[in-house]
Symmetry: C2
Subunit: 335 residues, 2 copies
């Protein structure tokens, strides 16, 4: 058992050496004579001395801690995805001897203030940001302050997608919806896509997978629906589609939309309609809806790989192209 009430001075007195010698044994043992080193080490072990973590951090200027923002809880079926990532990051970080500090912020400016406090105070060595947007002020700030960071999410539309100094991990949405569409095509060629209104880079990426899979199968990609991210709007759009057109399947940009499609299919007595969601949430699982699984475990592992670059700790570094990005291939879960 380590005893935090024992000081370095106590150890020095017990071993009959100076405080500086104890410090040398702890930090630069090579410069201490072997017999002195043994005597000090025995005193440390006997007395249960633990260098205080704050002292160790002050000395090394390293906290072995990663900061990550927790969004205010917004509810919704798909809100669980970021939480799964935080769980996985915490687990993987622990295995690599790192800690995770979470902080709340209601917008990007507040998040920057929280990051500034933590970075200035030496509380974190690096941060993870999520939900990146074009012209993201956080990225400017982190780059300017030379704070090591990884983004879960690509710098959509920015010129620096291939800039190796910007480290990011993301899930390959188009690959996910390609797999979803290929599966749905088993039911028939009339596969609709239910996506979000224009302006979502993530949504465009997911739609692209549907278009590519339809083209590969020689099926026309013409049934394209749009709904806000709510169950009721998705339900209404799919109900309208079912009453107007012949449809074999609906591939959706999210599980929220897929649950809406499912409700419309049940109400319209269309148990044969294939529906595929995205995120593999508990709601999709409960209702037996197939869905694309983002594999947050791999996203978390990729985040830490980028931050640590194969080393034992987080370093500021300039990665080479090809080492700066991890694109996780999602997996279709068929139900």
């Amino acid at each position: 058992m380590r005893d935090t009430s024992v000081t370095i001075q106590d150890v020095a007195r017990a071993a009959g050496v100076s405080r500086q010698t104890v410090s040398n044994v702890l930090n630069t043992p090579a410069i201490v004579r072997a017999e002195t080193r043994d005597r000090v080490q025995q005193a440390i072990d006997r007395m249960g001395y633990a260098p205080h973590a704050s002292a160790r951090r002050l000395r090394t200027r390293r906290s072995a801690t990663i900061g990550i923002h927790l969004d205010p809880y917004a509810g919704g079926i798909s809100g669980v995805v970021l939480d799964r990532f935080v769980h996985a990051l915490t687990e993987h970080a622990g295995e690599r001897g790192l800690r995770v500090l979470v902080y709340a912020a209601s917008d990007h400016d507040e998040e920057i203030r929280r990051m500034a406090d933590l970075v200035d105070g030496g509380d974190v060595d690096a941060v993870v940001i999520t939900g990146t947007a074009y012209g993201d002020r956080r990225i400017d700030w982190l780059t300017q302050r030379a704070v090591p960071f990884v983004s879960f999410g690509r710098p959509w539309g920015a010129d620096d997608v291939d800039d190796p100094t910007y480290l990011w991990v993301d899930v390959d949405g188009a690959t996910g919806t390609r797999a979803a569409t290929a599966h749905a095509l088993n039911r028939g060629p009339r596969v609709a896509f239910l996506g979000w209104p224009a302006g979502s880079a993530t949504g465009d990426d997911r739609e692209r997978g549907w278009r590519e899979a339809m083209a590969a199968a020689g099926a026309p990609a013409e049934l394209r629906l749009v709904a806000e991210e709510t169950v009721s709007e998705a339900r209404d759009r799919v109900a309208e589609l079912l009453s107007a057109r012949a449809v074999d399947a609906v591939v959706c940009a999210s599980d929220t939309l897929a649950v809406g499609a499912h409700v419309a299919a049940v109400a319209g007595h269309r148990p044969d309609l294939a529906i595929v969601g995205f995120d593999n949430t508990p709601a999709a699982e409960a209702l037996g809806i197939s869905s694309v699984e983002q594999l947050p475990e791999l996203v978390a592992a990729g985040t830490l790989d980028l931050l640590m670059a194969g080393g034992p700790r987080i370093e500021r570094r300039t990665p080479t192209p090809g080492e700066a990005h991890v694109l996780v291939e999602p997996r279709l879960v068929v139900r």
Copy 2:
């Protein structure tokens, strides 16, 4: 902008005082002459000196940080409840100047090892534990080590429920199911309860609310079903009930069970069957199922109230009876 490269020595040199004087200005300003204090403060402001957080913590032996274990992500409809609590705790802690450090552990013994590391290292001032069970080893360890802690969950079945040294916050499950049952009785007197197998103190508490509301209404509490926490088992039990007996409503111990009941009602063409869940999860919201909302915001605020006891920081203290527990009254969300 604070500059972490500026040292206390730099400030001392610029102000023409000793290092100790700068330290006194920061920590015990009352003992420094006013004109010296002003000169030092001007140098601090001009140079953007920030006392390193690790140094401040080493000095105060306080981390202003709370630790909380994150369960491995288990999936499931109701898994979101603890995440909502962590979100709310992070938000409320930030408002009170505290930080939240999360750690993974696969069982109570590992959680104790993680807590020991953090406590020994001065990384946390207090911890929050969740998912308490009878004979919980974590509670013994925390009590023995005199680590301030609050438990989200009562010490079910233990003798120390009323021991004011054991701080806990919990949600009053029986009050929630009483409200759910009173609402369901509007549909008719035959209100069933769908709960978990015996041995769950939380489940017994929720069942008690149903029994009490039925007794208050003079309705016989005889339709008592049991299912494991899965949608499919709940669906099968409710389907059996609907084919065998006349039922007006089903009050459920969780939203997972309520989703199963909902699926059985849809399949059995019983849109009139009232169903009430517990936890107000996104799945219940998506399917339009009424549910009891645990109000994690109030649980988080209660946790911090107990840890801080009205003061500006976390202190080890012996609370008086009546100050050691917070029982949050949940709210029925009718859909």
